[in-house]
């Protein structure tokens, strides 16, 4: 089931109504049933995988506690089973193709086995989340849970199941286990987040996505057209992915849960390190805590640090998809981080005019990264990077400028929100405080803003409905 469907809205209304009318002990049962219904709505066989991941990780964590001397063995079971599922469904064809190509280059022609099977959506997200649980238990940072039901809620919680944000067991499990109450304030803020999320997805992401798709479908793009398309894609992927996160966080609040923030206005980052503190935060912190730091982090020699950064980013790129361009994208960001030595503006620093050129430079570097991310054919990447701004026809130049301006026009609300948030960073408003109510004018303004968002969705939603980009990962 997808968020931007009427089916989901009806499903969510029913779930919320039932959820708050059943006793507490039944709420988690209802959440698992609802989550499994949500996930298996189109392809029920997906449920076998998520159930298997849950049961194996439950057993592995319990095993670690019961037989501490075999902890490593149980951790291996969890990692192998999760990576096994991920590897089989997501990377099998990639490895088969590359092995066949390598053998062919040695003169050994083999017919590659091809797996004609659908990639289960969200598998990269929930396997990583489930593994964070077993790794934390292995490290002794978390105790193994006795309730399989609670763990099943943790793994399958439907608001963030398909595209994150990936939650840590230490953050979400206590919420699953603890008491919860319906908070009108959370519901209000959740409603605003959901409205903003739908607006970003249906009005911004899907409309600029049409521009990006059109440009990346061209056989003969020229410099200005290509980079206008890359800009459109940058807006699309941010609006799309952050919309999913906002809807996930908003719907969670209606169920009495809080999910971690996944984006912090990444296009206002002033350096690569700053960017990765703001973009897909849940994934980048996952890789930091479970790959980068275990590798040694920034301890040791500079060469070791460079190795650790590059390995982490290569794996992060590969996580996104079974294609070399994602690996290249990860490597590119790793190199950027190494070249800037991980330095960057602290998030708490206020936005000042003198930082603007650095923000613009970082945004330009990010665009190069998005070209590597969006363009799946390596030959096309090479061709694109060789395009020159000179000698382009007047029509192509004007077309590029037009597409850029159109994408920018659609993205104005996102830029305004980012700059506003950045200027007010660190300033706590009354409504941020749990239990506090915003003043009536603020409430009316929020209602009006949501209303304008809904009206704009009705009027300007793209005629081409696109899936959330991160569903494919």
């Amino acid at each position: 089931m997808i968020f931007h469907s009427l089916d989901f809205i009806a499903f969510f209304v029913i779930v919320v109504a039932l959820y708050w009318s059943v006793p507490r002990r039944w709420q988690n049962v209802l959440l698992v049933v609802a989550s499994y219904l949500f996930y298996g709505y189109v392809h029920p066989w997906f449920l076998i995988l998520i159930a298997a991941s849950t049961v194996i990780d439950y057993g592995a964590a319990r095993g670690m506690e019961s037989w501490p001397d075999r902890r490593r063995w149980f951790l291996g079971l969890s990692v192998v089973s999760n990576f096994g599922m991920l590897g089989f469904f997501k990377y099998f064809n990639f490895f088969a193709e590359n092995v066949a190509a390598a053998l062919a280059s040695l003169g050994l022609a083999v017919s590659e086995p091809t797996l004609r099977i659908l990639l289960p959506v969200g598998i990269s997200f929930y396997t990583f989340q489930a593994m964070s649980y077993t790794i934390d238990v292995y490290r002794g940072e978390l105790r193994a849970r006795r309730s399989l039901l609670d763990l099943a809620v943790f793994v399958s919680f439907f608001p963030h199941l398909v595209a994150g944000p990936i939650q840590r067991a230490s953050f979400l499990l206590p919420q699953v286990e603890g008491p919860r109450r319906f908070s009108l304030e959370r519901a209000r803020s959740g409603f605003v987040l959901i409205g903003w999320g739908f607006f970003k997805k249906l009005v911004i992401a899907d409309n600029v996505g049409v521009i990006a798709n059109k440009v990346f479908a061209l056989a003969d793009p020229t410099f200005y057209i290509l980079w206008a398309g890359v800009f459109a894609f940058a807006i699309q992927i941010y609006a799309d992915f952050s919309a999913y996160t906002d809807i996930a966080r908003g719907t969670s609040r209606w169920l009495g849960f809080e999910l971690t923030q996944n984006f912090d206005h990444p296009y206002l980052a002033a350096s690569p390190a700053d960017f990765w503190r703001r973009w897909n935060i849940s994934l980048s912190t996952w890789f930091r805590d479970y790959v980068y730091i275990p590798l040694g982090g920034s301890h040791g020699s500079r060469w070791l640090w460079i190795r650790n950064v590059l390995v982490t980013f290569l794996l992060s790129g590969f996580w996104h998809g079974a294609s070399w361009n994602y690996v290249l994208w990860g490597a590119y960001h790793g190199v950027l981080l190494v070249l800037t030595r991980g330095r960057g503006r602290a998030l708490s620093d206020p936005l000042q005019w003198r930082v603007v050129p650095r923000i613009a430079a970082m945004f330009a570097l990010t665009l190069i990264g998005w070209l590597l991310f969006r363009e799946t054919e390596l030959a096309a990447i090479v061709r694109d990077l060789r395009l020159s701004p000179f000698g382009v026809s007047e029509l192509d130049r004007q077309t590029g400028v037009y597409l850029f301006l159109l994408a920018f026009l659609y993205s104005v609300p996102v830029w305004i929100q980012s700059v506003w948030a950045e200027l007010h960073r660190g300033v706590r408003v009354a409504s941020d405080v749990e239990g506090a109510l915003p003043a009536w004018p603020a409430l009316a303004f929020q209602g009006l803003a949501c209303g304008v968002a809904f009206a704009t969705i009705l009027v300007l939603r793209s005629r081409t409905s696109l899936d959330f980009i991160y569903f494919q990962f």
């Binding site: 056989a219 029509l395 209602g447």
Partner: protein, 347 residues
């Protein structure tokens, strides 16, 4: 308690303002003097919207050509059939009624409003389709494709609307109601073009040059400049929907067979082969095979023909371009091969 009541009133106020704000869209339309749009021919599916005109010239064109064969379909037929070559082989003109991005609703209306309306009596009317297209009336009825239907639809299409009404659920009806209530299409009718025009207005002062630029840009980004994509046009609706008995009476297939029978026309439904594997035909699930068997029985028992390309060893991967489309170089060979196969049905 007072805080809780205040919070409840606050939430309710917020939701009410948010939900009622779209009611201002009609006010905006009046202020802008937006012209009310005519009701659609598919009220079960959508509210009033601007439509493209019905292509009525097709009717006299068909009468003038008086073809021996008519080919109806989407790009599957367009990339396969070379109508000139088929005409040479058949010794009679062939009329292609093709529309890229069309589905069974279009094909039904093309038969009714063009072929039957023209009064011609071809030997065969061929309809090209993939797998479950014929029983999935909703295929390519979403907004991005709906304009193609305008080309074949009259002012009212009661029977098609009835079929669609049986397919849309209460949620879709609620969405249509909200669309009508908020007059969203009327607003889109003037807001969207203004939005799309704005960057061009910033860039180019002269109105005439602006229009020329936008036309030239559309050509620059058009079909002729697209790269081939192996995965293109591969999606044909919900994959697990292989229940022929459930879907056939909720489709336009019975209407097509009835209308053709009334007019003494023979329909030949051509199931094209999807993109094959390097070493053989495309995989088919048992459910899909059962579906096609049921379709064959249904059609033949009603005097129609099913010609199935799937599994034909002559149709190899080398003949394909992107997705399920055949390559340009393979059109002639396919046409000749197809026509030879067709002879069996004509005897």
């Amino acid at each position: 308690m007072a805080t809780r009541v205040r919070a409840a009133v606050g939430l309710l106020t917020l939701v009410l303002i948010a939900v009622l704000t779209p009611a201002l869209v009609p006010v905006l339309n009046r202020w802008h003097s937006a012209q009310p749009l005519a009701p659609t021919y598919l009220p079960a599916l959508e509210g009033p919207r601007e439509r493209s005109p019905f292509e009525e010239t097709r009717v006299p064109d068909l009468q003038h050509l008086n073809p021996g064969f008519v080919v109806i379909g989407d790009s599957m037929a367009g990339t396969r059939v070379d109508e000139r070559r088929m005409g040479e082989l058949a010794g009679t003109p062939v009329a292609p009624l093709l529309q890229a991005g069309s589905g069974s609703a279009f094909w039904y209306l093309a038969l009714k409003n063009w072929v039957i309306a023209s009064g011609i009596k071809p030997r065969l009317v061929m309809v090209f389709f993939r797998d479950t297209n014929l029983t999935d009336v909703m295929f390519r009825l979403d907004q991005q494709f709906r304009w193609t239907l305008d080309l074949v639809a009259l002012e009212r299409e009661e029977e098609l609307n009835g079929v669609i009404a049986g397919r849309v659920g209460p949620l879709h009806r609620a969405q249509t109601f909200v669309g009508r209530w908020s007059e969203a299409e009327e607003a889109r009718h003037w807001i969207e073009p203004a939005l799309l025009r704005l960057p061009a207005e910033w860039m180019i002062g002269s109105r005439r040059r602006r229009i020329e630029f936008l036309d030239a840009m559309n050509v620059r980004l058009g079909f002729d400049h697209l790269r081939p994509m192996p995965a293109a046009d591969i999606q044909i609706g919900d994959a697990p929907a292989f229940d022929f008995a459930r879907d056939v009476d909720r489709s336009v297939l019975p209407l097509m067979l009835r209308d053709a029978s009334r007019e003494g026309l023979t329909l030949c439904f051509v199931r094209v082969q999807r993109r094959p594997l390097p070493n053989g035909p495309p995989a088919q699930s048992p459910a899909l095979i059962a579906y096609v068997n049921a379709l064959r029985e249904y059609l033949t028992s009603r005097g129609a023909i099913l010609h199935d390309d799937t599994g034909d060893p002559a149709l190899t991967l080398e003949m394909y371009a992107d997705g399920d489309h055949l390559a340009r170089h393979a059109r002639r060979a396919y046409t000749e091969h197809f026509f030879n196969g067709l002879r069996l049905h004509l005897q």
